[in-house]
């Protein structure tokens, strides 16, 4: 079963220049994302697996980055730790 990820409820985001600031309104935290991180965040309005997100980034930026899936995995894990995104099973259950 593939795990998909989506933004958590209770989060707001603000674009500041090329960066994005994500507010966790339940925990009163602010997380700063750089341009690539902001792009990932913007794509996670719909459930998406790590593989799907990596494929979209590869298509967008046209580069062969061997570690792109690892980088996306690390990004997703970190944002999950901060409560900004949550995992969903493929049947849609969170």
């Amino acid at each position: 079963m593939t795990t998909k990820y989506i933004r958590s409820e209770g989060c707001e985001s603000l674009q500041v220049d090329t960066d994005c600031m994500v507010l966790n309104l339940d925990q009163y935290t602010v997380t700063q994302l750089n341009a690539i991180g902001a792009d990932c965040w913007n794509r996670l309005t719909e459930p998406m697996s790590i593989e799907e997100l990596a494929a979209q980034l590869r298509a967008e930026y046209g580069t062969e980055v061997p570690s792109i899936e690892e980088d996306v995995c690390a990004f997703v894990e970190e944002l999950s730790r901060y409560g900004l995104i949550q995992a969903m099973e493929d049947n849609g259950a969170a």
């Binding site: 707001e12 603000l14 500041v16 220049d17 960066d19 600031m21 602010v30």
Partner: protein
């Protein structure tokens, strides 16, 4: 019971004063509006009473939801009960310090709720038709900078009022003072904000501009707010973004002498 009208920023507050003690407290701190200049309806209607609690023992608040959508904020020296639209409030205080803090609390909530602006931990001075903000927590040097800046005009010595709009940021006279009180005839008119300085006491004068994200992160805990609801946090961040997009924010390393103004003007 008597009634008083005061102005804070662009807003008019009507206060119904239930005792002579609270009446004289208010008149010592807040000048009143000429009756000819009063609006038809105040922005906030406040019932004000004394005889509450005891001296301030700390800044932590006890927050509870009470009936009819009202929220109560309690400290050892004041209680503030507000409605959900923040246009009606009851304040009970122990002394003048409590009165000042309770009104700061109410005003800060109201201007954030309406998206009008922010109340900042900052002193603010006028130079050549522009306002300049000096930001920091207690002990950072806000009052020191203010004293070294005299005889420049003073908008605020500890709590600065900023109106934040998409195309301008404006500093207003603040009645929330620590030591430096401005006579009515010397009060400054609303003035465009030209710069914001985060204060760092140092052996040398140096000013370093921050990028916008760093500026926002540095300013977040310099907004006067108590127990913010999620909607208020969003409003604060949106207003800080408008602020940093229009006004350069610097770290100002300064020696305790007025020469730091050479870096600003």
């Amino acid at each position: 019971m008597t009634t008083a009208w005061i102005t804070i920023g662009e807003h008019q507050l009507q206060l119904r004063l239930h005792t002579p003690t609270v009446c004289s407290m208010l008149h010592r701190v807040f000048p009143q509006i000429d009756p000819a200049l009063r609006c038809e309806k105040p922005d906030v209607l406040v019932q004000l009473e004394d005889g509450y609690g005891g001296p301030c023992t700390g800044y932590e608040l006890d927050v509870t939801r009470v009936e009819d959508g009202h929220t109560s904020y309690r400290r050892s020296d004041y209680e503030l009960v507000v409605n959900s639209s923040l246009d009606h409030a009851t304040i009970r205080v122990f002394d003048e310090l409590a009165l000042k803090h309770a009104l700061m609390h109410l005003y800060s909530m109201a201007i954030i709720h309406t998206g009008w602006g922010l109340l900042m931990h900052a002193s603010c001075m006028e130079e050549a038709g522009h306002a300049h903000l000096f930001i920091g927590h207690s002990g950072a040097g806000k009052s020191t900078v203010m004293r070294m800046s005299l005889p420049r005009g003073v908008f605020a010595d500890e709590a600065s009022i900023l109106k934040i709009e998409a195309d301008r940021i404006t500093a207003y006279h603040s009645p929330f003072r620590s030591d430096h009180h401005t006579p009515m005839e010397s009060r400054l008119s609303p003035t465009p904000l030209a710069s914001a300085q985060l204060l760092v006491q140092s052996q040398e004068n140096r000013r370093v501009q921050l990028d916008k994200v760093s500026a926002m992160l540095a300013l977040m805990d310099k907004v006067f707010y108590w127990a913010p609801a999620p909607a208020a946090v969003t409003s604060i961040m949106q207003q800080l973004r408008m602020l940093v997009e229009q006004v350069p924010v610097y770290e100002l390393h300064f020696r305790k002498e007025p020469t730091f103004w050479e870096l600003i003007t």
